[in-house]
């Protein structure tokens, strides 16, 4: 009997856990390799990949959230794939094709639910983080012969999710306290073509960026009955917008002191907003149209990357005096940035160089590079404990 088990373990080493590591996961993360449908599990303390995982489908647009124990990554792919990856063993635990075309997702406050935002079929689906079984299916408002695409999905306190409807200009608040009876509150007429959304770190304010007009839509989740209000209205002051070759992303919340920072749509500018009055208080001219405007965790610096054809640089802005302190020639196809949990380093993916560059944020010098095949998103495990991610 014993030899039979031993033979089985030799045949399937994964069963024996031979490939798994015994370690903490707090300094781990994932680098998406968009062209090959694979990812790397990386160790941020040692600047090295510990696993390569393939078979994740179409990752041309991908994002990742983490289980609350930071062991599992949930990867949302463009092909509607939702894949649960074990970081300690470097393997796929489960993979489902939950839709035809998806954009991203979020994990619930108690970590039991993972929600996916879909373009096709337009709507949101909610799954158990345990076995990826379907818990709720929330189709979006019908639009033409389909349903509206959904974007900007985040989690909010109280087992809630918030997302925007791209085609029909709505924000929906989905409450999943009782998973068998999802409750949806709809806010309509919030503005034309919301393209992404974010939530403040305290989980109070949800903001949707608008592509179809200059402005943002704001929902106060402490007082949802007051409805959605428009902020930064007409920030372009009627100026002609430039063509947009890549949609900006509102990921996380670039905040420093009482000011928040956003990418301007169709402009070579970062917008500065006062958080008390929600008024525009500054516009910082930059190298191109910003895609990500990200604050270092201490809020002292902002790191900005840009859309095609200016996606070859990263600019660093002093959040106090709003001056550009450094322009880095990272290389063509600079797609994403991720800070280490306390912000001493930033990891930057450079698609056309097939590398991830690691910078010291204090002096903005290159510390290390890691090879990666057409890298795009970089996601570290500390996202597990941040509302909205």
């Amino acid at each position: 009997m014993k030899s039979w088990i031993l033979a089985l373990l030799l045949l399937f080493p994964a069963l024996a856990g031979a490939d798994c590591q015994i370690r903490g996961t707090g300094d781990l993360g994932v680098i998406i390799e968009r062209a090959s449908g694979s990812l790397q599990v990386v160790d941020t303390s040692h600047h090295e990949a510990i696993f390569h995982v393939a078979g994740l489908g179409d990752l041309s647009h991908a994002s990742v959230v983490y289980s609350r124990d930071e062991r599992y990554a949930y990867v949302f792919g463009r092909d509607g794939g939702l894949t649960k990856v074990d970081l300690l063993c470097g393997r796929i635990v489960k993979r489902i094709l939950q839709g035809g075309n998806s954009i991203g997702g979020a994990i619930s406050q108690n970590g039991r639910l993972v929600a996916v935002s879909n373009y096709e079929p337009g709507g949101v689906k909610v799954f158990s983080t345990d076995d990826l079984s379907l818990v709720a299916d929330i189709p979006a408002t019908p639009f033409k012969d389909k349903h509206s695409k959904t974007v900007g999905l985040v989690d909010a306190p109280g087992e809630r999710f918030v997302f925007s409807l791209y085609d029909t200009g709505e924000i929906w608040l989905l409450e999943m306290k009782d998973p068998a009876h999802p409750k949806v509150t709809k806010f309509t007429g919030i503005g034309r073509l919301p393209y992404d959304g974010l939530i403040t770190p305290d989980g109070r304010y949800y903001i949707a960026g608008l592509f179809g007009e200059d402005g943002l839509a704001l929902l106060d989740l402490w007082q949802p009955e007051k409805g959605v209000r428009r902020i930064l209205d007409h920030y372009g002051k009627g100026e002609q917008k430039l063509p947009v070759y890549k949609m900006p992303h509102l990921e996380g919340w670039a905040i420093a002191g009482n000011r928040a920072f956003f990418p301007a749509v169709g402009r070579h500018e970062v917008l500065v907003m006062d958080m008390e009055s929600w008024k525009l208080v500054g516009r910082i001219p930059v190298h191109g149209q910003p895609v990500f405007v990200m604050a270092r965790p201490d809020g002292r610096q902002l790191w900005v990357n840009f859309a095609f054809p200016n996606n070859d640089k990263v600019q660093v802005i002093d959040s106090e005096n709003l001056k550009i302190i450094k322009t880095l020639d990272t290389g063509k196809g600079t797609l994403h940035m991720e800070f280490t949990p306390r912000g001493e380093e930033v990891w930057i993916s450079v698609r056309d160089r097939d590398q991830v560059q690691v910078y010291d944020t204090d002096n903005q010098t290159l510390k290390a590079t890691l090879p990666a095949k057409k890298p795009s998103g970089i996601f570290f495990t500390n996202r597990a404990h941040r509302t909205g991610l």
């Binding site: 968009r34 179409d58 041309s60 092909d79 954009i103 063509p243 890549k246 949609m247 196809g333």
Partner: protein, 109 residues
């Protein structure tokens, strides 16, 4: 031997070059650049596998109702009222037409 081949090859290129140019066929190097642009930059909205995203899929089936000339014009001038931008600063009319034809033929995944 290798140098003879090279000379022959250059001669062939010289002969066929003008014909190709008049047919609007980009050089192989430029074709590779255009396809890279298509996958990675058009792919931001249309998906790297062209299966669609915020923008529609660019599969032969999806594009059947449109002529290559119409698609070429859309690439060059964009679609006002939608996020589709004009790409005319980055490629020529002939290159846009070549891309449109390739898209209609299908590029695989």
């Amino acid at each position: 031997m290798a140098s003879i081949r090279l000379i022959l090859l250059s001669f062939l290129v010289l002969l066929t070059g003008p014909t190709l140019a008049s047919a609007g066929e980009p050089t192989p190097a430029r074709q590779a650049e255009l396809l890279y642009l298509l996958r990675h930059d058009c792919g931001s909205c249309h998906g790297m596998r062209l299966a669609g995203g915020l923008g529609p899929a660019l599969t032969p089936e999806q594009l059947r109702p449109y002529t290559s000339e119409q698609l070429g014009a859309t690439i060059m001038h964009g679609r006002p009222g939608t996020p589709m931008p004009p790409w005319r600063h980055f490629l020529t009319q002939d290159e846009a037409l070549w891309l449109a034809r390739r898209l209609k033929q299908g590029l695989g995944r």
